[in-house]
């Protein structure tokens, strides 16, 4: 499904942190209770290439949506950098606004002022989960699609803009165009609405589209249609996607690479099929084992889910490896008296390459342990 030739790196995210402060009451402020944070994203790094679909997978509360929003600067950024390669038109506009590029021709989108960032919104677009909530019910399809063109001053006249609109609708296969431009969202089915949302995202000819659970509200029978549309767009206009989902089985059909997130960090990252077939982190293993399949033979067996307890609060993140309190592997290693087990409670394991292009953050891999560690 994936095209083999990916282009150059278009996004290089390093050590992204998004911490939300918890409000203190009056008494807590007076008594000097230290400020607490919800560490929604706590050190996430990855790269994306042109024509790549990169998948962020994880359970609710793992920080996958916040990571996506951070790339559009929709949440306050606590730390980290995001070097991005803008399209030619946007790069020219940025230069006019006095933005400096690094030697690779990329800009750090977290360092820009709001005013400088504005033209970049053309290049990074978002598709939301709920096609019922993300389209204005009082706008016709043409108004929904014209809005971004007006904001970014693309197309001089209305008829010129209508041409852009027609092209975008054709791209998402809402044809004949004349039948759809004057409809209101309530006159469309769920799948058609989501295609309008995608048309709105691609009408600006962006570089990167962040799709947050784009098919989870849709029926199974039409999900594939939307997923296939992503694949076609990727080939035809050289788009890159960040596909955010909780569902590993759909990820497999559209993604080149998968990153599994747990409690604000990437615990495993690798080629899509490899992550699913040969997971290298105990959390991924549990996640894969938990996914049901349409096979009636499963009725006879209980699912063996190798994970304990529930996700801790992102306010009190466990010390060391944040997964260790739920980790069956850690428990077993401790029982066997493995020397590396004590590392799990001491320091956060680094994300290291354990197979070609496949990274994991777990001390079960020797590469993750400190140099010269023998116990």
């Amino acid at each position: 499904m994936s095209s083999p030739e990916l282009g150059e790196v278009i996004l290089d995210l390093k050590d992204l942190r998004v911490w939300f402060p918890i409000r203190r009451g009056l008494i807590e402020t007076i008594t000097g209770r230290p400020r607490l944070y919800v560490r929604a994203v706590d050190g996430v790094s990855f790269e994306i290439r042109r024509r790549e679909t990169f998948c962020l997978v994880g359970e609710s509360g793992c920080g996958k949506t916040t990571t996506g929003k951070a790339l559009l600067r929709l949440v306050p950024i606590t730390g980290g950098s995001a070097r991005f390669r803008p399209s030619k038109e946007v790069a020219e506009e940025l230069e006019r606004r006095g933005v400096e590029f690094d030697e690779d021709g990329m800009v750090d989108i977290f360092k820009l002022t709001d005013k400088q960032f504005h033209p970049l919104r053309r290049d990074i677009q978002m598709v939301y989960q709920d096609p019922y909530g993300s389209l204005n019910p009082r706008f016709r399809v043409r108004d929904i699609l014209e809005e971004p063109l007006i904001v970014h001053k693309i197309g001089e006249t209305r008829s010129e803009r209508l041409e852009y609109i027609a092209r975008a609708l054709e791209m998402v296969k809402l044809t004949p165009v004349s039948e759809f431009v004057d409809r209101y969202p309530h006159q469309l089915s769920g799948g058609q609405r989501q295609r309008v949302a995608i048309a709105r995202a691609i009408i600006m000819n962006p570089v990167l589209v962040v799709a947050d659970e784009p098919v989870s509200m849709l029926d199974v029978s039409i999900r594939a249609e939307i997923l296939e549309l992503f694949n076609i767009l990727k080939e035809r206009i050289g788009l890159s996607f960040i596909y955010i989902t909780h569902d590993l089985s759909t990820a497999r059909y559209v993604c080149n690479r998968i990153a599994v997130m747990y409690l604000g960090r990437i615990v495993e990252l690798g080629p899509a099929d490899d992550v699913i077939q040969d997971p290298q982190h105990p959390y991924t293993e549990a996640l894969v084992a938990a996914i049901p399949e349409p096979d009636p033979r499963n009725r006879a067996r209980m699912r063996d889910i190798k994970i304990k307890g529930e996700v801790p609060s992102p306010v009190n993140i466990p010390p060391g490896c944040r997964f260790h309190p739920r980790c069956v592997l850690y428990e077993a290693a401790l029982k066997r008296g493995e020397p590396w087990a004590k590392l799990c409670t001491q320091a956060e394991p680094p994300l290291v390459e354990v197979k070609k292009g496949h990274y994991a953050a777990c001390y079960k891999h020797e590469a993750a342990r400190p140099k010269g560690f023998t116990g």
């Binding site: 249609e225 996914i291 209980m302 699912r303």
Partner: protein
């Protein structure tokens, strides 16, 4: 005699813009100790069917035809008072979609869990609480949890409590409407394990309603596939999953993304389900069907037994 027998059930919604035929001539039976899965996409009438079984259809909907026999009593003919005293919780209990979010945030969960016991039995609060503690242990939670408030519990814990509540009066039948839909996969797998265990231990009958064919496969012995208010295929799970007969079932199974095995191109069904105010003539699936032929858009196919115990409503299998 089957535990539950539904015959030609029709539940319509009388809206300002016309009559919505949400359930339109559904028949099936449920034996003691059996799990029946009802699968279908949004708007196919599966939740309306569940509400009908407890006579809980919200207005402007009402049951307009057919019968629902429980122990020989017809639920459709009962008064509200009778359904309340004879059927709900005692004979049939229901795990509603999203019920875990319906707990009152300012009342301890324990007091909410024991409510059916106080209303439907002559137990006092102490006895009811003790009974609830027992049931809570059964679903894998510590009994102290009853003393907590809803916001102190996780989604998985609340869903376990809802299941415990449904089992309190030991009903013959439990209807579960999308019991795992809002939960994360790991919690979903734990809840499905719990339901498998309870089912084996208690020997009760379950009607499992969901859009997710993978969840159905985990639990159901027999499967019914609904489309546009009708059952289009009904049979043993093995037969429906491994040898689907109806073109809709075949297409639906091809559209399910799979985690393991070869990565074939995902299939989708062109078009959208029909407007139930004005369903297409003949077979309701015919405008989207690849194997449509001459009788399909004129006459409605009957549900016929194509193999032993495997029923299908399609002209490919019916004799005219």
């Amino acid at each position: 005699m089957p535990l539950l027998e539904v015959r030609d059930l029709r539940t319509y919604y009388y809206t300002m813009r016309g009559v919505v035929r949400a359930v339109d001539g559904v028949s099936f039976t449920l034996e003691k100790g059996e799990t029946l899965g009802i699968a279908g996409e949004s708007g196919c009438g599966k939740s309306t069917l569940a509400w009908s079984l407890l006579k809980l259809v919200p207005p402007p909907g009402r049951i307009v035809g057919g019968s629902i026999l429980v122990d020989g009593m017809d639920v459709t003919k009962m008064s509200e008072h009778e359904v309340r005293s004879k059927i709900r919780w005692r004979k049939i209990s229901m795990i509603f979609q999203g019920a875990m979010n319906a707990f009152n945030p300012v009342i301890k969960v324990g007091d909410q869990v024991i409510e059916p016991l106080l209303l439907h039995t002559d137990m006092d609060r102490e006895e009811a609480w003790a009974r609830a503690e027992e049931m809570v242990k059964h679903v894998g939670l510590p009994p102290e949890i009853l003393e907590r408030y809803p916001h102190e519990l996780s989604g998985g814990q609340k869903q376990r409590l809802v299941i415990a509540m449904a089992l309190l009066l030991e009903p013959d039948i439990v209807i579960a409407d999308e019991p795992t839909t809002a939960l994360d996969v790991v919690i979903q797998a734990q809840i499905l394990n719990l339901m498998k265990r309870l089912y084996r231990e208690k020997g009760m009958s379950i009607i499992l309603i969901t859009h997710d064919l993978s969840v159905i496969a985990e639990l159901a012995e027999r499967v019914a596939i609904m489309y546009a208010g009708k059952i289009v295929e009904l049979g043993p799970a093995e037969a429906v999953f491994e040898n689907p007969l109806h073109p809709y079932t075949q297409a639906l199974l091809k559209a399910v993304p799979r985690l393991r095995g070869p990565k074939e191109r995902l299939y989708y069904i062109p078009g959208a389900p029909p407007d139930l105010r004005n369903p297409p003539r003949g077979c309701r699936f015919n405008p989207r069907c690849e194997r449509r032929f001459e009788p399909c858009d004129r006459e409605e196919p009957p549900l016929v037994e194509a193999e032993k115990g495997h029923y299908v409503a399609c002209w490919l299998y019916a004799r005219r």
